[in-house]
């Protein structure tokens, strides 16, 4: 089956209902091939071990999710999956569409940010932050106000500092869905054992790649009682981009660090970058979105 995401054509042996399917009327090969196969359990013989379940070599990355599958990502165009016996496909897809795609996009030379991208006119903003900072909640909030979400969780940035659109879904926890009055009855769980859902969003194959103008770093805090936005100037802008790179450790073993630094520097020079402190108590989504939109207006 052929799909499209991140402006790539993808041939996959595993069904990917989260992605947009595309019709193929010719035999032209896809940009990326995803297939099932056998992967050696002990890591990469020519690689560097980066973690208990992670190896990297210049052209490949080996990742094991215990009890789920091993993945081998090579040359930015090939993904091999070796599933554990009896594992469900949803569980495989969660990690395939997360870390595995992230590694593939890094191999293709993108700067990959850990966040989501939202269209604002002919440009976009990207919200980054650690897990639990509220990125997906914010994306869902923008969506409810009629904005287009270009990518959730994994945002590849091309050489012209543009965000490449991903695929049409946000991962949403039950709790957030309830707060946003989203009925999850008919939504698919991302994995059978999690109260977390695939929330489909309107994204089409012709959604444009858009220049990134604003990047906001989301943080929770207990010191302030209101949303605070503090812009980051000059050379201080480089490190936060590095810190909010998706799976930054993957770069270590794949020899991509110099290119990554170049891309961070290039992006840092073009954007309005700010830290956003949001109070930990209460749900201040509306206030947060209003403040971000006001900051965008002040920094066009």
């Amino acid at each position: 089956m052929r799909y499209t995401a991140y402006n790539l054509s993808i041939d996959s042996e595993i069904d990917l209902p989260e992605l947009l399917p595309v019709q193929t009327c010719n035999t032209e090969s896809a940009d990326v091939k995803i297939s099932f196969g056998s992967i050696a359990p002990g890591g990469l013989t020519n690689g560097q071990r980066l973690g208990p379940f992670l190896w990297a070599a210049p052209e490949s990355l080996w990742l094991q999710v215990p009890q789920v599958a091993r993945f081998l990502i090579s040359n930015g165009n090939d993904i091999l999956i070796d599933p554990e016996p009896d594992i469900d496909e949803d569980s495989i897809r969660v990690f395939l569409l997360g870390s595995v795609f992230g590694a593939l996009l890094l191999q293709r030379g993108h700067l990959v940010l850990h966040g989501n991208a939202i269209r604002i006119g002919d440009q976009c903003l990207v919200c980054v932050g650690r897990s639990g900072a509220g990125k997906s909640t914010l994306a869902a909030g923008f969506l409810q106000r009629g904005y287009t979400v270009l990518a959730d969780d994994v945002v590849p940035v091309d050489n012209d500092c543009r965000a490449v659109p991903g695929f049409p879904r946000i991962k949403l926890w039950q709790d957030v869905a309830e707060r946003l009055n989203i009925d999850t009855t008919d939504l698919r769980r991302i994995r059978p054992n999690l109260e977390k859902f695939n929330y489909p969003i309107a994204l089409t194959a012709d959604t444009p790649t858009l220049p990134i103008r604003w990047i906001y770093i989301l943080n929770r805090n207990t010191v302030f009682d209101e949303v605070r936005i503090e812009s980051i100037q000059g050379l201080q802008r480089f490190q936060p981009l590095r810190d909010n790179t998706y799976r930054v450790r993957f770069l270590d073993g794949m020899g991509l660090k110099p290119e990554h630094m170049r891309l961070c520097g290039q992006l840092a020079g073009r954007i309005h970058l700010a830290r956003v402190a949001q109070p930990d108590n209460g749900f201040m989504l509306d206030q947060l979105i209003d403040r971000l939109l006001a900051d965008i207006t002040e920094n066009p």
Binding site: P52, F53, P66, Q67, S99, G132, Q174, N221, V223, N281
Partner: protein, 284 residues
């Protein structure tokens, strides 16, 4: 020596105080360290640590799957040739595979910080924004777990606390664990002796001048002064202050006789063992 010393405690038992002391000791500066920049180590249940080492999102795992992987993460993190001091509130428990959560290979030892449960109760009630009776019930619950929600993504991983007694015994009696027990009350009554003992256990230089200065730079007055001045990012949303009283024995003004009796009934054996009850079972 490569490995982890765990700074282990139940909530509101002096762990942050000790970390402030430790950072002042390690920095040996001319002024107290900023309480918002305590960097003695990580928190065992910090999701970002786990995700960074695993290379995939713990947010896409269920709590049992995560627990099973935690020893691997600590083992991996202990391989870098450094001695690390990480904070932990989990009880000393075992994974479904029967392995200690903190991993035996990763662990150099545990400094267990212990406080009279009669004083923990009011402090913890304030910390979590619940009534004293509810808090006392949690402290007596052998199944007590925090950050357990399945419906949202807590910033921290699920932690099994057990009851207060269960927590203490899990660390105090864990087999083959190199441990040192430090009582909050001794940190107050004789800080030089208490902190020096802890410093020696952690394998750090026991220079009396440095220790004395670190004690001074981390005393309650300094910590609460800093919090009043600029806030403390570890303060929970529902609590007005993190550093509230810093006294021992304030339970006498806070707890009713019934609440005292309930805590003694729940935890009398462990309280007696660690010097919080006299021979007749009366609180000291």
């Amino acid at each position: 020596m490569s490995g982890i010393y765990w700074l282990a405690s139940y909530f509101k038992s002096g762990n942050t105080w000790f970390r402030a002391f430790l950072q002042n000791l390690l920095e040996d500066g001319d002024r107290p360290v900023d309480i918002n920049e305590l960097a003695t180590g990580r928190l065992a249940s910090y999701r970002g640590w786990i995700d960074e080492v695993l290379g995939f999102d713990s947010a896409d795992l269920d709590t049992d799957e995560i627990e099973r992987l935690r020893p691997e993460v600590y083992r991996w993190s202990s391989r870098d040739g450094e001695t690390a001091y990480h904070k932990i509130h989990d009880a000393y428990t075992y994974t479904v595979d029967g392995e200690p959560l903190v991993s035996r290979e990763a662990t150099l030892g545990a400094l267990y910080i212990l406080r009279n449960p009669l004083d923990v109760a009011p402090s913890y009630a304030n910390h979590i924004g619940l009534s004293l009776d509810e808090t006392i019930a949690y402290m007596g619950d052998h199944q007590y777990v925090v950050c357990k929600s399945h419906k949202k993504l807590p910033a921290q991983l699920r932690q099994k606390l057990l009851s207060w007694s269960g927590h203490v015994l899990s660390w105090a009696d864990a087999p083959a664990l190199n441990r040192h027990i430090l009582r909050y009350e001794d940190m107050q009554a004789d800080p030089v002796a208490a902190f020096t003992g802890a410093v020696r256990f952690l394998g750090l230089p026991d220079d009396p001048v440095r220790i004395e200065k670190a004690i001074r730079f981390s005393d309650f007055g300094e910590l609460s002064r800093q919090e009043a001045e600029k806030g403390f990012y570890e303060r929970p949303p529902c609590a007005e202050r993190f550093f509230r009283q810093g006294k021992s024995g304030s339970w006498r003004d806070r707890l009713t006789p019934e609440q005292v009796a309930r805590i003694v009934a729940d935890h009398g054996e462990v309280m007696r063992r660690f010097g919080y009850l006299d021979a007749d079972g009366r609180p000291l």
